[in-house]
Every structure is written in C-alpha cells, then in structure tokens.
Subunit: 237 residues, 2 copies
C-alpha cells in the first residue's frame, strides 16, 4: 500500500498509528491489459481500488456510440471511492494503458475510517477534489473553445503528475489518444487533431510517443485560463 500511503501523506500528515493501519489493510493486487473494464456501469462493487501503476479513466456510454470520459487517473489515485457510499455504479472505470491496481474491501476501508476519522476526512476530501475537477471540466465544455479546453487538460494533467513526482521539467507522460481526448472534452477526434497542430505550430507544446512537453507553460496557462486552485494541491490543515 505504499502508493496509497504516499497519496495520503501528500494530502495530510499521518500519525504512526494511522500509517500502520493503512499499511496493514488487506490488499489484493491485479494487473490489467490496456482497454479493459475494471468496474462497469450498473455493477455493485465490493472493493475500492487504488492505482498502483498505469492510467485508468472513468466514462459512460450513451447511445449510438457516443461516449463521455469523466476523468483520467494516475498512480496514487483512488478512482472508485464513491462505491463506498453509493452501492450501484452510474458509470464505468477502465484502463487506458496496461495497469496494476490494488483492491481493498469496502468493509476494511469503512472500518479504517471509523477507527481513524482523520483518514476518513482525507478520503472524503479526495472525493471533493474529484468533484472540483468535474466542475472545472464542465466550465470548459460549457464555456471554452476547443483550444482552451485542450490546453487546460494538458495543464491539469501536468500539474497532477508533477504533484506526485511523476513529472517535471514541463514534460510528462500522456498516454491518451486523440479520440480519447475528444471523448473527454466533447470534441471530435478530427478537431482535436487540428487544434493540436495549431498548438504545435505556435511552438506551445510537443506531443509524441505518449509524452507531452510544454514549451511555454505560462502562455499555455494563460490561453487555457488555467488556475490550479481547484486542484487543492496544498496539504490539508
């Protein structure tokens, strides 16, 4: 459970007892290939999960092949905490890349939050940040241009990766296809492609081999109206 611990400690400072309790959680690890579902819309999961390695994403299928992607998840994330309190899934969780995922029984997590309310608060807080990110995406889809939305997603993913030590130097992994970007941002893959070329043309970014390099961070943030406040990256009081 090192990954979960690292995530929790990035959010709040834990006592020895808390740390030990987290480490003694009964965890079962599983690996998945790319493009597999971990939990499906309508399921009633009995476990929460923590991303150990690889990327996951949450999505929902609408009719006629339409798909909306809600979030991308990186190592340390707990993309499925909601099933702790909402028994039936209203969306799906799948892998973007090959991934290693740790599963913890709901019962153990509930017990943990009862014995250590501060850990409960940290997990609750995590789901609130999740919601804050949803709001930010909503603002993008409702009121920003394709250019602004794409730039914003790049800023967000870089900031999140950097915060857990998986990126730096304005360079980060980004194993997301243009089609997936479109389904996340409410755009077509064709239009994503054209806007990416425009951003490349301006020398703002490079995106190749699943790697994003931002050549002009300040300019990217400005044009995407990116303000990281909503990520609430600072530690909790």
């Amino acid at each position: 459970m090192t990954m979960l611990l690292r995530k929790l400690e990035s959010i709040a400072t834990l006592s020895d007892g808390e740390r030990e309790a987290v480490q003694s959680l009964p965890v079962r690890n599983r690996t998945f290939g790319a493009g597999q579902d971990i939990v499906r819309d309508g399921d009633q999961p009995s476990h929460c999960c923590v991303v150990i390695d690889g990327w996951l994403f949450r999505y929902k299928i609408l009719g006629e092949g339409r798909r909306q992607i809600f979030s991308f998840h990186i190592p340390g994330d707990t993309p499925d905490l909601q099933s702790l309190h909402l028994p039936v899934m209203d969306h799906s969780l799948g892998t973007l890349t090959q991934a290693s995922v740790a599963f913890i029984p709901h019962e153990s997590v509930r017990d943990l939050t009862l014995r250590f309310p501060r850990i409960g608060a940290v997990l609750w807080r995590d789901t609130l940040i999740d919601a804050a990110i949803f709001r930010e995406w909503m603002a993008g889809m409702g009121r920003k241009s394709a250019y602004g939305r794409i730039g914003h997603l790049f800023c967000e993913m870089y900031a999140k990766l950097e915060a857990v030590g998986l990126a730096g130097d304005y360079r980060c992994p980004l194993p997301i296809t243009q089609g997936e970007l479109g389904d996340a941002l409410g755009l077509s893959n064709v239009h994503i492609n054209r806007v990416l070329q425009e951003m490349r043309g301006k020398g703002l970014i490079t995106l190749r081999n699943n790697t994003l390099v931002v050549h002009a961070w300040a300019e990217l943030c400005r044009s995407a109206e990116f303000d990281p406040t909503y990520l609430h990256l600072q530690k909790a009081g």
Copy 2:
C-alpha cells in the same frame, strides 16, 4: 433544522440520538434577496449552509462575461459541504430567488460527524451524489444536443423536487431564466428560447410563470436519455 433533518432522513434512517444531535446544532438563519452571493470564489467559509426556502445555484465566472452554472439547489440541499474539507472556495454560491438559508459552523458539523459517524457517512454520500450529477451534466454538455440537455435538466429537477415533496403530478416550480439555463447547459439564451419553443410545439412541456409542466414524461425522458439512477434517490442500506 427541520429541513436538514428531513433531508437526512430521506437518505437514511436516524436513531433518536442522531436526530437529537442534528436538532441541537447551533444554527443561524439568514434571508437573501434574489441574485445575491452567499459565498464567493476565493472565500474561506467558516460555516456550512442548508437551503431552507428558495433556490440557490453554484457558478464560476470566466473572463469576458462568460459564466458556468454548476448546479441548482432546492430546499433541503447542502450546497456548500465541500468547504468543510477544502478551505478555499473554487466557485461561488448565490441565490436564484429570494431565499432563506441556515448556517452551521464547520466546527459543529465536524464534531457531529465525529460523534455520529453514520451522519458523516450520509453527508459524504450527499457530496458523492453531487459529483454524480456533475458527471451527468458533463455527459450532456459533451455528447448531447441542446434539445437533449434541456430535456434532461427538466427531468432532473422534477425528479429531485418530487423526491422531497416539492413537486408532483408532473408539475414543479422552476424559477430559472432562459439566460441561466443557457449558462448551466453551455448554450446561448437565444438558442434555449428556440429549443423551448420546439418542445412546446411538440406538446411535451409548458413553462410559464416559473412553473414547469411536463405533458409527456416518458417521451421527455426518452428523448433526453434520462435515467435517474445517477441521482441515487433510494435510501442508503
């Protein structure tokens, strides 16, 4: 605190002790005119709030007069629980109509959740449903037509109002202007107007005097792809 109690009991059955603890919360009531801010982007609130009467909404201002509305709130809602764990606001909360709002100090709510973890779980659950609604709006803004989005919002508001006894008979209050609908759904007020006329023309709905009447519920749900699962209206186990 009758309103909060009613809301909590609509979600889970409370014990006598829990009920009493909720009722003895130190509450301060305030009334607001229409169009006033209750909490602003950047604030660090010290209280949570519960809607007693009237409608609220959450929103964020982007540049150049653009605004994104994230949610509408009706009596019984707790639109500001996130400030309990995220000290600085990343959006604003304002009134849509004249409204009466109850404020409870964060400290008291935290204390309540410590003494009665089940209440904490219910509140946490409430914020998770909030996030589920955000996801549903995202899916609408990303992948649905204006027609589908508007219809979906009508279904959602009716379902939420009906669940707390504020609507029935396919008729409900809806004190939302066409401009506000547009800012919620990522559309212009002009287009909202035209789509509403189309829905009226088909005999689907009536919307006048801040009152919505749905004449063909099943057809509206179908055309909006509305499935209430995401509202998680059933009581918690």
